[in-house]
């Protein structure tokens, strides 16, 4: 899932300072599961903003609603009236959600209520860790299902480096060495021969280095002929 955390309330107050009618727009998918921007969190933020604006002497009309997925326009259309009626929309979806609202409703002023952090998973209740860097060419099949791009500070393909001490990364005592984890996993699976293969330099053009990425599936496009 995409993991995010809410911006400090003061920062959000600054973003909406000029508006009177505010809509806090939650998202029912990733940010709901990581307790950052679902129905409950949108309600808490809207209530907090109402209280704060009242205490500041400039009461704002703050409401909230949540859609199933902010990153698909079809779901946004269902709350189009609420979005258009607001002076400003505080999206508590991820960065994609914010941009989806802006692209669907270009005339609407939309600001982010969250800082989108990473793609990861909950390792225990209340703790989320990064697991994928969306590098565009997955090598998990060679590394025992442990990603050195997301979990090694140096993103090494042929690790570990000299900073790995007793299974711990040199950047933090809290951080296990990804390549130690890979070694242990492959050893337990009797697949250590995989680690002996020297990996060539990674093709980073499939990652962010190649600019914004786009995937097109012609078999799925409904208006392919019309657009050509």
């Amino acid at each position: 899932m995409i993991v995010a955390e809410q911006k400090p309330l003061d920062e959000i107050k600054g973003l909406i300072a000029e508006a009177e009618k505010v809509l806090v727009l939650g998202c029912g998918t990733c940010v709901t599961v990581c307790f950052a921007g679902g129905e409950k969190e949108a309600g808490i933020l809207a209530t907090s903003l109402r209280m704060a604006s009242k205490i500041d002497g400039q009461p704002k009309d703050v409401t909230h609603t949540t859609v199933q997925r902010q990153c698909e326009w079809e779901y946004l259309d269902a709350v189009a009236d609420q979005i258009r009626e607001a002076d400003i929309v505080v999206s508590v979806g991820c960065g994609i959600g914010v941009q989806a609202v802006v692209e669907r409703f270009p005339e609407v002023w939309v600001v982010p209520g969250l800082n989108t952090s990473f793609m990861g998973l909950p390792t225990e209740q209340g703790v989320w860790e990064e697991r994928c860097a969306a590098c565009g060419s997955c090598i998990l099949g060679l590394t025992g299902g442990i990603c050195p791009i997301a979990r090694c500070a140096k993103q090494l393909l042929n690790g570990p480096c000299g900073g790995s001490q007793n299974g711990v990364c040199e950047i933090s005592k809290e951080l296990p060495c990804a390549w130690q984890l890979i070694y242990d996993r492959l050893k337990s699976q009797n697949r250590l021969h995989l680690i002996t293969q020297i990996q060539p330099p990674k093709d980073w053009s499939k990652s962010r280095d190649g600019g914004p990425r786009r995937i097109t599936r012609e078999d799925l496009r409904l208006a392919a002929e019309a657009s050509e």
């Binding site: 907090s48 209280m51 205490i55």
Partner: protein
């Protein structure tokens, strides 16, 4: 002054009931809201109480280790800590909400905690949100945090009530 006391069914609410049976006085500012367990307590519900003008909130659950539902009171304690952070960011004092633990046999302690919470809240003055709204609202977006089990009518001021709300409720 109005203080909402979220009290768990098995301990704190029964303690309030006992306080009534024992004819103990405690401040009339206390408005008891019975919850099945303090683990049921919702952060948003507490925020609504403050939004609609509560000067303070006390959360009263079972003694730690004695929760009827194992760890509901421990969860509530963490949520109270979260609410303290949220209301501080909003501009309210974190001392406006406190967690208390007591058994069903601790009627006197319930009255003592009610006095302590009332004094602590009184030292902070009225909630700026109540001053802004003028009175406690019974309606509003997101529901009413106060009106579900209110006793009496309006703000009863600094006097004391001889019979607690919980006891009155049971007598009907």
């Amino acid at each position: 002054m109005q203080i909402v006391a979220y009290s768990c069914h098995y301990c704190a609410y029964a303690a309030a009931d006992l306080a009534g049976v024992l004819r103990l006085s405690y401040p009339a500012a206390i408005r008891i809201v019975e919850v099945p367990c303090t683990g049921r307590l919702d952060v948003l519900e507490v925020l609504h109480a403050f939004e609609h003008g509560a000067d303070g909130v006390m959360v009263a659950g079972c003694l730690e280790g004695d929760c009827h539902f194992q760890a509901g009171n421990l969860n509530a304690r963490r949520r109270v800590a979260r609410v303290k952070e949220l209301i501080t960011a909003v501009g309210l004092e974190p001392e406006r909400i406190e967690m208390f633990n007591l058994s069903s046999a601790m009627g006197r302690q319930f009255a003592d905690y009610a006095v302590k919470m009332t004094q602590q809240t009184a030292s902070l003055g009225p909630s700026p949100l109540r001053a802004a709204s003028g009175r406690v609202s019974r309606t509003g977006a997101g529901g009413d945090g106060l009106g579900t089990r209110r006793e009496g009518s309006g703000d009863v001021g600094p006097s004391t009530q001889k019979t607690p709300a919980a006891h009155q409720e049971r007598q009907r």
